[in-house]
């Protein structure tokens, strides 16, 4: 009995020690040094995430009491590496973490551990359910999915055979967009969704998948991408002289997507305010850090539908001064 009591005591002591300084003040607070926030982003893409990171850094420069560090795993979208980075930052007693919400057990456990260590967790771009209080800043992905559905109906006249291309599995934001899309077109009988393609997409993979759909799904005349890689890959490379999709809808703008909009390969995209998302994340975090209270758990940033016609009109306006 005595041994059991001792073992229990030791276990409790170790558990308490494992909790770190979550119950007390952080090192930053004790030393009166700037808040230390770390953004762990899935990859550096010279596009979506880069713009988001720029927005964060520009906004962070507005606050003298905040130091923002941006970390990216060596391998793109490598959840294990991102998890390790979360643990490192927790060990470093960072004051806040800004990460994408990913529905991965180890990933979420690391975030929970960070929360227990007193680290404030901000999810950007993608929200997930957690057992601890966190802040979400980003697109309302379900609403964005519905907006995409509305565009689909408008662009196809409510008559289309649609293939949805998502990203790798485990990203709730993509699932939310698909859910929104499905809900929006549910009442439109002319819209028939042939299926959803999941993969860890890069441009080569997208082009391969595109050709595969053209070959294997002759009735499919519309492709809807729920993340940015689809339009980025198709924009410059689809040959309009050859068989191609009637309507291509996707997410986010970049140079390659704009080329597709200009050529008419891309019908339209849902644009997200990446930089605004980054700025808003920092603003909300600072409020949380300074007040110690989480006044609002979600901040949705703006989205809009941008078409090929919009792009051409803009170009014409710019050309005429």
């Amino acid at each position: 009995m005595k041994k059991r009591i001792l073992a229990a005591f030791l276990a409790a002591a170790l558990a308490l020690a494992s909790a770190g300084c979550g119950a007390g003040k952080t090192e930053t607070q004790e030393q009166n040094l700037p808040w230390r926030a770390t953004a762990i982003l899935p990859h550096s893409d010279q596009g979506y995430w880069t713009k988001l990171a720029n927005g964060m850094q520009e906004e962070a420069e507005e606050y003298a009491g905040l130091n923002l560090k941006v970390r990216i795993p060596q391998m793109n979208y490598n959840i294990d590496q991102m998890t390790a980075l979360i643990r490192q930052e927790t060990a470093a007693q960072a004051d806040a973490l800004l990460v994408q919400g990913i529905d991965d057990e180890g990933y979420l456990a690391a975030l929970q551990e960070a929360d227990r260590a007193g680290v404030k967790v901000v999810l950007v771009d993608t929200d997930v359910e957690t057992s601890f209080d966190h802040l979400y800043v980003g697109t309302d992905n379900y609403a964005a999915g519905r907006m995409l559905g509305q565009a689909l109906i408008a662009e196809t006249g409510g008559e289309a055979n649609v293939m949805i291309m998502s990203g790798d599995e485990g990203y709730p934001n993509l699932d939310e967009r698909i859910r929104g899309l499905r809900d929006e077109v549910a009442d439109c009988e002319g819209i028939r969704i042939a299926g959803v393609k999941y993969d860890k997409y890069d441009s080569l993979n997208v082009l391969k998948q595109y050709q595969s759909i053209l070959g294997n799904y002759p009735l499919v005349d519309t492709i809807v991408g729920v993340e940015g890689t689809l339009c980025m890959a198709l924009g410059p490379y689809v040959n309009l002289e050859e068989p191609h999709m009637k309507v291509v809808l996707g997410f986010d703008r970049c140079t390659e997507t704009d080329a597709g909009l200009d050529r008419g390969v891309i019908t339209g995209v849902i644009t997200q305010d990446n930089e605004g998302m980054g700025r808003q994340a920092i603003q909300a975090l600072m409020q949380w850090l300074e007040t110690g209270r989480l006044e609002q758990s979600s901040y949705y940033t703006a989205t809009s539908y941008y078409t090929s016609a919009d792009y051409r009109r803009e170009q014409e306006v710019q050309a005429h001064g």
Binding site: L14, A17, S18, G20, Q88, A91, Q93
Partner: protein, 510 residues
């Protein structure tokens, strides 16, 4: 105002300001070089210090972790103590580094320190648990919780390791950035220094043009002016300087001095010309005077000759009537000699010997005329016979004695003709007679007649006096020594050079 201007723009002030500007620029270049080098050294030192401190921290963390490992693995009490000692040192290092973050913030270093603190908290907890475990009843309970805790510390240690690597990477990047910054700084410094050197050069040129050039130009002008002044007889144009300094003052003074010199030179030239004119006028005057004297002498002689010749011819006539032809012949010869002397030497200088000989001819002629009525005696000092004088001096004096002193004496009349050295080298010519003498009034009248210009009588004596005066000048003296029965007229000639040896002009025997 002008002096103030000169002071303001004086050579001293120009050079002082110029050197001050160049000195300031040189100091600026030096200060910038010093600042840049000091900044470089400081940045290098700071960077090196930070790396060294981080390295020391890492060494201490490794030592701590080694002791933790040893204690966890073998439960050696010594390792536990070593752990505590190293952990304390590590904590101290962390505290030192964290303290520095206030002045030199580094996110990576703060993260690392916090990470080490997390590690120490976990490892302390583990060691504490192990201590309790060993003190209670080792081996009686499961050690799996210690295993988990140890793995946790090793995970943290690996993060620390990674963090160190990250920091080194960042530091290297930072050092590279700093090196680039220092290179840029050096480049900017060089550009700045080069610019300053250019500014210094420009300032030097400006100072040269402002301070040195005006002086050298002014000195060149002054030198040219001095050379022209020395070389040309004509007054050169004024040297014009507008430097506003001492040299302008000097040039103005120089101009005034040259003006003064040339004015004085002109005056001297005018004086010289005037003196030359005066000299020429004097020469002309002398020439005219000499000509006048010659004319006057000729006139006097011409006035004598007819008169004498008339008398002589009368005598010849009377002699020829009273005596035979031999006597007449002698008389004519004497007369001829007398006339020849007068005619040939009228305008010539003769010796006293010539005069005595001519007077002897006259005496001979007079003796032939008056017989023994007059006795003539010549007392001529041999030393005086060579002195020179105009002709026809003694004869008129003898004639005057005969005509005025002895004319009433029918017998016993004597005439003495004397020449002898006088006092002070002078020579005395004297004609003495024992006639009636010359009264004082007569003497005064005679003396007055010597200065008269008209022919108011006493022609013979006045004629002699004037000719001697012309010949000897104002030092000639005439003396009368006269009482009844002894009267003499004496001319005292100025000092003459007398013959010392045998005289070639010795008189023939009388």
């Amino acid at each position: 105002m002008a002096e103030q201007e000169v002071r303001r723009r004086s050579i001293t002030s120009r050079f002082s300001i110029g050197y001050m500007i160049l000195l300031v620029l040189a100091l600026l270049v030096f200060a910038i070089s010093l600042l840049v080098s000091q900044t470089q050294y400081r940045l290098y030192d700071d960077s090196l210090d930070e790396l060294l401190e981080l390295n020391q921290l890492f060494v201490e963390v490794e030592k701590t972790n080694n002791n933790l490992y040893d204690y966890f693995l073998y439960l050696r009490a010594a390792s536990g103590e070593d752990y505590h000692r190293e952990a304390d040192i590590t904590r101290e290092k962390v505290a030192q580094l964290t303290e520095k973050m206030h002045s030199s913030y580094s996110r990576e270093t703060v993260d690392l320190c916090c990470m080490v603190q997390t590690y120490l908290e976990k490892s302390d907890s583990l060691v504490q648990g192990l201590n309790l475990y060993t003190q209670q009843n080792p081996g009686s309970t499961s050690a799996s919780s210690f295993e988990d805790a140890y793995q946790d510390t090793q995970r943290l240690f690996s993060y620390i390791n990674l963090s160190f690597k990250d920091i080194y990477t960042v530091q290297l990047a930072s050092t590279e950035q700093m090196r680039q910054s220092l290179t840029d700084l050096r480049r900017y410094s060089l550009v700045l220094q080069a610019a300053l050197v250019l500014v210094a050069l420009a300032a030097y040129v400006k100072v040269y043009r402002w301070a040195v050039h005006p002086i050298t130009e002014a000195l060149k002008k002054l030198t040219d002016f001095a050379r022209r002044t020395a070389a040309d007889r004509e007054k050169p144009e004024h040297v014009q300087l507008d430097t506003g300094d001492e040299l302008e003052l000097f040039a103005n003074t120089f101009n005034e001095m040259v003006d003064t010199i040339f004015t004085q030179m002109k005056q001297l030239e005018a004086d010289g010309q005037l003196r030359e004119q005066l000299r020429q006028a004097e020469v002309e005057n002398l020439r005219i005077s000499a000509e006048l004297k010659a004319n006057e002498l000729a006139l006097l002689q011409s006035r004598i000759n007819p008169h004498f010749l008339f008398n002589t011819l009368n005598i010849i006539t009377q002699t020829a009537q009273m005596e035979d032809a031999e006597e007449t012949a002698a008389l004519i010869e004497a007369t001829a000699d007398f006339l020849r002397y007068n005619l040939s030497k009228l305008n010539k200088v003769v010796t006293l010997a010539d005069e005595v000989e001519n007077t002897q001819n006259y005496v001979y002629i007079q003796k032939q005329r008056f017989g023994d009525r007059f006795a003539f005696e010549f007392e001529i000092d041999e030393r005086c016979t060579s002195i020179t004088m105009p002709c026809m001096i003694l004869q008129p004096l003898v004639e005057n004695s005969i005509r005025h002193g002895l004319n009433n004496m029918l017998r016993g009349a004597k005439v003495a003709i004397r020449a002898y050295p006088g006092p002070g080298g002078s020579v005395c010519l004297e004609v003495w007679d024992n006639g009636v003498g010359i009264s004082a009034e007569k003497q005064a009248e005679l003396l007055r007649s010597f200065e008269a210009t008209d022919d108011s009588g006493h022609i013979g004596l006045r004629n002699v006096y004037k000719r001697l005066r012309l010949f000897y000048g104002k030092n000639l003296r005439i003396e009368f020594d006269s009482v009844p029965g002894s009267s003499s007229v004496r001319f005292v000639l100025p000092p003459q050079e007398l013959a010392l040896g045998p005289n070639p002009n010795a008189l023939p025997n009388q």
